[in-house]
Amino acid sequence: MSRVLVPVAVLENEAVPLGLMNLLGTMDVTVLGYHVLPEQTPPDQARLQYEERANAALADIAEEFRDAGGSADYRLVFTADRQKTVDRVADEVGARAYAISGATGAVDRILVSLSGDVAADRILAFVTELVGDRAIDVTLLRVAGDDGAVSMEAAAERLDAAGIAATTRIAEGAAPLEALLDAVPDHDAIVMGEQAPSLQSFLFGEVTERVAAESVGPVLVVRRPRSKPESESE
């Protein structure tokens, strides 16, 4: 089974919706409990005070995931930089994807975005494993004029071969983000690929975060392949 990281702002009483827990019942889950601190507070200082309480809450959440059918463990991180923590822990546990929690009931239909510079192959493999033999319908979405590495027909066939009911939708004349958000209302959850960092994501924030903020429901972000250990400049 592939592993999915589920970050939870544990001390802010963020809850994971039951619909997301059930959706991830086919996967291994690592619940990443985190607490973001401002720069003036050493993370260790928060650990001293809140570690016990946070771990108790995380143990409960992991238990609920197990009740929903998957296998789950948890980790607790005090940090000043949420995204760095998510990336590091996802690397360490070898997570294929991470979740951005959102409100949802039972998930019957998921929207999969194949627009833009994303690893379509990894996304399709992930969706196949996620849906498994459950009756969850999939909509594949791409904006018009965007010919990715995998054609939409081939993608739909691949899901059909795995026994998944897939429909394709080509959005005309819309930017990828708007097209995605337009298609959201008929769906209960979104799967999309992690984008390469760009000037746009630097200025306006990660696309995935914006989708999550505007779509209300949960978003599963399939991570880009990590070619080699990152050689950071700092």
Partner: protein, 473 residues
């Protein structure tokens, strides 16, 4: 690095034991048994902490005072201070890479030399930072009045202290409630400041060397002889308090083995060059006697001399930024110093509580802000600066001693990524120089500093004599 099972660490008067956790340190995080602490500060952030803490006083408050005491040789005083700072920064870097945890100098000393030395240094550091922050705030008050004057709003010097008090309250509240991008703001302030200084100093240096403008009349280099150069070095050493603050964020720094030494040594080198150039330019502009008469904001007139009213405005603005950044950094460091001793049960545990609403250590920030306001109200710039230097110099001297003690009988856990070049000469010189600078201070400062250390020792014997921190990692 894997710590050994801790020995018995004892408990304080209220039965609180030091919080000693086994931990594994990597480049990206610290792993304790039940949680992880992310490392998020890069080299740039570390340099900004070091440079940002140091630069306020040296350039913008001291040139007039220093030139009055030592003449043009004040540049030598600053260079001497820089050398001493470097002699301490190297051993501090080694210890920080061996123990990359929050707590900084206090942590090294309590683990290397034991609880008494740790308690004296840890509590004195709280007071030392309070004195430093008060000093920066008074400097800020002077610059605020001058900035308004440049803009045509003339206020009397009697408003310096009230302005400093208002901003002291403001910074404390800001640190309790303001959680957005404090560090990024600090980085921006430091970058802007360095650009302003680079322009003014480059122009001034060209002018002073006679390449542009009219040649200035040379002056005797040491009009008062060599002794004032040393006493002035003791005074202006306050300008170098800050590089060790980098070690207080050691637990949050990415790739600590590389970034800690680079940030500490790098920030000392950067500010030394800036300071020496500044004094050279300032004394070339006016001659030391005139400079001395201009007092705390002499640099404004230096800016005016070289670049007209634009230069004056650039300097007052730079002075505002610099004293602000130093004051703010010191308030933050104070709260970290209180946290470090409170975690080790040398102060009650409630002193390091944080609130969930803002995630900030409001108690410790209050314990910083309150005393700072009292000291600001005294308005005694030189004494504030010297007491701050006194208490930091004791810390620095003991850091060097701790290095020698640890190296002579290296414990199993001691495995620094960076080893001080020139051992044992460098730490020995660092210790001697740090303690020697104390000897050149005013008697009043020495008495206050010594009194605070004795009070800290008294507190230890009363409150925490059963606490045992040596080697407790």
């Amino acid at each position: 690095m894997v710590s050994e099972e801790p020995t018995d660490v004892g408990a304080n008067l209220e039965g609180e034991a030091p919080d000693v956790e086994r931990s594994v340190e990597t480049d990206e995080a610290t792993y304790t048994d039940d949680s992880e602490l992310e490392r998020t500060i890069g080299l740039t952030g570390g340099l900004a902490i070091g440079v940002g803490t140091m630069i306020g006083a040296g350039i913008f408050v001291f040139p007039g005072l220093a030139a009055g005491r030592a003449g043009p040789a004040a540049a030598g005083s600053f260079a001497l201070g820089g050398v001493v700072a470097l002699l301490v920064a190297l051993p501090a870097s080694e210890l920080a890479t061996a123990m990359p945890k929050s707590g900084g100098g206090y942590y090294f000393i309590s683990r290397g030399l034991g609880t008494l030395a740790g308690a004296v240094v840890g509590l004195s550091l709280w007071f030392g930072l309070v004195f430093a922050a008060a000093f920066y705030l008074v400097g800020f008050g002077f610059y605020a009045v001058d900035t308004l004057a440049e803009l045509g709003i003339v206020l009397g010097p009697e408003l310096v202290i009230p302005i400093a008090l208002v901003f002291g309250v403001g910074f404390t509240l800001l640190n309790v409630t303001g959680t957005e991008n404090a560090a990024k703001l600090q980085n921006g302030v430091v970058a802007l400041l360095l650009s302003i200084l680079a322009v003014v100093l480059l122009w001034g240096t060209l002018d002073a060397l006679g390449l542009i403008g009219r040649p200035s009349t040379p002056e005797r280099f040491m009009p008062f002889g060599p002794f004032p150069v040393l006493t002035t070095a003791a005074l202006v050493f306050t300008s170098y308090l800050g590089f060790a603050q980098v070690a207080t964020v050691a637990g949050e720094m990415k790739r600590p083995g590389r970034n800690l030494p680079l940030a500490m040594v790098g920030s000392v080198l950067v500010v030394t060059v800036l300071y020496v150039t500044t004094i050279f330019v300032a004394t070339s502009a006016f001659g030391s006697e005139r400079l001395a008469s201009l007092g705390e904001t002499a640099m404004v007139d230096v800016g005016r001399h070289y670049l007209g009213s634009a230069g004056a405005l650039a300097i007052v603005f730079g002075g505002l930024l610099a004293t602000m950044s130093s004051a703010n950094a010191s308030i933050l460091s104070t709260s970290r110093a209180i946290y470090a001793v409170s975690k080790d049960a040398l102060l009650p545990r409630w002193a390091c509580r944080i609130n969930l609403k803002y995630g900030t250590p409001h108690v410790a920030l209050g314990m910083a802000g309150g005393p700072i306001l009292v000291l600001v109200a005294t308005g005694r710039v030189e004494v504030l600066a010297e007491v701050a230097s006194f208490l930091h110099l004791v810390l620095y001297g003991l850091i060097c001693v701790a290095l020698v003690v640890l190296r002579r009988d290296e414990p199993e856990w001691y495995d620094p990524d960076f080893r001080t070049p020139g051992y044992p000469v460098v730490p020995a010189l660092g210790a001697v120089a740090s303690f020697a600078l104390i000897g050149f201070m005013q008697t009043a400062s020495q008495v206050i500093g010594l009194g605070l250390m004795l009070a800290a020792a008294g507190w230890y014997f009363y409150y925490a004599r059963d606490v045992n921190l040596r080697g407790a990692l």
